[in-house]
């Protein structure tokens, strides 16, 4: 049911046009952070307002929307954002990655490979990959302009010198088409390889920081590394205890007072569809 008091997908058409222009600019310059006049949304800054505005600007009445947080469709904030669009846009929603035309995500890329025509919208807290090396926006914009990324390499090198490895496990910086260093949002670095050469359009929205950036389909995205310390996508060294998948990203769940643990796919749709076709894990019940 659509809430008639608001325009389709909440934002007015003028605002959507402004956001679409920013998206187009982002697509034209992959990895470049485009400033946009982010609006106050009816959910708090830091809770996906950038993603929500990008989704709102992309949604058409015939779209089918999927919203995930931590890979899962049933996390509270994912439920809340999905409900928001059901209420304001009345679009069809789904939990199946393959069925969705627009997927809004926080912290994960779905395991099921995306296809052409799909849009993946990321919620971004801090769009600036250099922010924790240089707090000033005026400085970091200059560094991007001049392609001055030495500071980032020094940081990665210092990690190796101190810890024997690059001590960044999520929001792992990437370089886009050999030009802009980009923050992929706080996805685990396990997901980084999926950023590159992806058939879907990937859009990144940072509401509070007023930035939009994009990876058009089949963009080359390289995780920063060194020849002698190549990038490695890490995950827990287990199989999913429910569906037995060995190649999916896992959540660790504490299951009893004795500190017993189980590992399950963070992508709930991926895990459920595998179970539906008979895959079983270590702790699966006999019958489903």
């Amino acid at each position: 049911m659509t809430d008639q008091a608001y325009n389709f997908a909440y934002l007015d058409e003028q605002t959507k046009r402004m956001i679409r222009r920013a998206i187009l600019k982002g697509v034209a310059v992959p990895g470049y952070q485009v400033p946009f006049a982010s609006r106050e949304m009816p959910m708090p800054y830091g809770w996906g307002t950038g993603g929500v505005q990008v989704t709102s600007a992309c949604l058409m009445p015939e779209d089918c929307l999927k919203v995930i947080d931590q890979g899962a469709d049933d996390t509270t904030n994912a439920v809340s954002i999905r409900k928001f669009f059901q209420r304001t846009a009345g679009v069809q929603v789904t939990e199946a990655t393959a069925e969705a035309s627009v997927i809004q995500t926080r912290h994960r890329i779905p395991e099921t490979p995306l296809r052409e025509g799909q849009i993946l919208v990321y919620q971004v807290p801090i769009p600036e990959p250099l922010r924790f090396l240089e707090p000033r926006e005026t400085e970091t914009r200059k560094m991007h302009e001049l392609e001055e990324y030495g500071l980032m390499h020094v940081k990665l090198y210092e990690d190796i010198a101190r810890h024997g490895q690059i001590a960044t496990s999520y929001a792992y910086p990437v370089k886009v088409e050999g030009r802009y260093v980009m923050d992929p949002s706080p996805i685990p670095k396990f997901d980084n390889p999926k950023l590159s050469d992806n058939a879907a359009l990937q859009l990144f929205g940072a509401g509070r920081e007023q930035r939009i950036y994009a990876l058009p389909p089949y963009t080359q995205v390289v995780s920063l590394d060194f020849d002698d310390h190549p990038f490695e996508a890490g995950k827990a060294p287990h199989d999913c205890d429910l569906c037995g998948a060995g190649e999916s990203y896992l959540d660790e769940v504490i299951v009893d007072d004795a500190g017993g643990r189980m590992f399950v796919c963070s992508d709930t749709d991926f895990c459920a569809s595998r179970q539906a076709v008979g895959h079983r894990g270590r702790l699966s019940p006999e019958e489903v």
Binding site: Y10, D12, P35, F36, A37, S38, R39, E40, M41, P42, P44, Y45, G46, W47, T49, D69, Q70, G71, A72, D74, T75, T76, N77, V79, S80, K83, H107, R108, P125, R136, E137, T138, H163, G164, Q165, A167, S169, Y170, A171, P186, P188, K189, F190, R208, Q210, G234, K235, A236, L242, Y249, L250, D251, E252, V253, V255, M262, S266, T268, L283, P285
Partner: protein
């Protein structure tokens, strides 16, 4: 078996229902009306209007009621509502010299045309709890006198005649709009003032206080503080003249700051400016101090590294809706990131232990 830590739709609905019940409180106690909030908690209403950037006392009172008295939450409700409103046009600059003042004081002159008017202020009250308010009862009427007619000239205008204070050149350009364009730095003074007037009162207060304690000292005197209502006029293109569309209550503060001169400017007094919706004098004074501290560059002063001089620091952190949203988002699930960190720390620990064992 698998205990879902993940929430769900029903949990959210139930939480909302519980919240509504808590907001109402004990049903045996009479419900608070929006009119009561608007009339009796007016300073809270003013703060919500100022930081919400929307002058509507009824909606601000409603927001306070809905937010259970959490003023930042109320500001958030107003902001989220405001952004959906169509932009029909903009008013003419209001004329604060024509303000119908309920309060007007100067700390720089003992008396001046227009007089010193204390108005409804807490200033000289003794902060003793008034237990009479525990019981309900009528308030005796305050003595009344006829309002002083005519415009009340600005105190700084008198200083200006001798060239003792910097002149603000009139500027006919349309100011930028913080709510319609992304903030780009360096910001113009108009943009800075917009950010400060809707900035968090506590933040602006602390920034101003820090300048008084030496972090970017600007030696401020309150040249004038005035509170009252001004007419809002809008040009109607079809008519070819401006029409009064309403009035707003404002607090305006102009500080006079000692200035010994710089390479580019002669010794003279300089100004800091504060303008806030409603009776919000703490905010207006604080705003004028921070405004003045941020003007170091145009006046050719030195940057001492004080936080209040640092435009990017002040403007990027003044907004409480941005701040509270980002602060509180860390209670959202982060288990994917945390899992990645767990694996990293486990791996690094394993390597460290191995090296330790090898050394032993």
């Amino acid at each position: 078996m698998y205990v879902a830590v993940k929430g769900g739709e029903r949990a959210i609905d139930n939480a909302h229902a519980w919240l509504a019940e808590e907001r109402r409180g004990d049903p045996g106690v009479a419900e608070l009306s929006v009119d009561q909030i608007r009339e009796q908690l007016r300073l809270a209403v003013n703060r919500v209007m100022a930081e919400g950037s929307l002058y509507d006392p009824d909606l601000a009172a409603l927001a306070i009621k809905q937010a259970r008295g959490d003023l930042i939450e109320a500001v958030f409700l107003i902001r989220a509502y405001r952004t959906t409103l169509p932009r029909l046009g903009h008013s003419r600059p209001v004329d604060s010299a024509a303000m119908a003042c309920i309060r007007r004081i100067s700390a720089t002159f003992k008396d001046a045309p227009g007089g010193q008017v204390l108005g409804p202020t807490f200033d000289y009250t003794h902060r003793l709890l008034d237990f009479k308010l525990l019981a309900e009862g009528a308030v005796p009427a305050a003595p009344a006198s006829a309002a002083t007619p005519g415009p009340v000239p600005h105190i700084t205008g008198f200083l200006n005649r001798d060239g003792m204070i910097e002149t603000d050149a009139p500027d006919e350009t349309t100011p930028p709009d913080l709510t319609r364009e992304p903030m780009e730095l360096p910001a113009s003074r108009q943009l800075r003032l917009q950010a400060l007037t809707r900035g968090d009162e506590g933040f602006v207060l602390s920034m101003a206080y820090s300048t008084q304690r030496g972090y970017g000292r600007t030696h401020a005197f309150v040249g004038e503080l005035r509170i009252g209502t001004v007419a809002v006029e809008m040009d109607i293109p079809e008519l070819g003249f401006a029409v009064e569309i309403g009035e707003v209550e404002l607090t305006e503060c102009e500080t006079v700051n000692q200035f010994k001169g710089s390479k580019s400017e002669p010794p003279q007094f300089t100004r800091g400016y504060g303008l806030v919706f409603g009776q919000s004098e703490r905010k207006a004074i604080a705003m004028s101090l921070v405004d003045r501290a941020l003007r170091w560059k145009e006046l050719g002063e030195d940057f001492n590294g004080a936080p209040a001089q640092d435009e990017e620091f002040v403007l990027m952190h003044a907004d409480n809706i941005q701040a509270t949203g980002f602060l509180e988002h860390i209670k959202l699930p982060h288990y994917v990131d945390f899992q990645a960190e767990l694996e990293l720390v486990r791996r690094m620990r394993a390597e460290a232990m191995q090296m330790q064992e090898a050394a032993e």
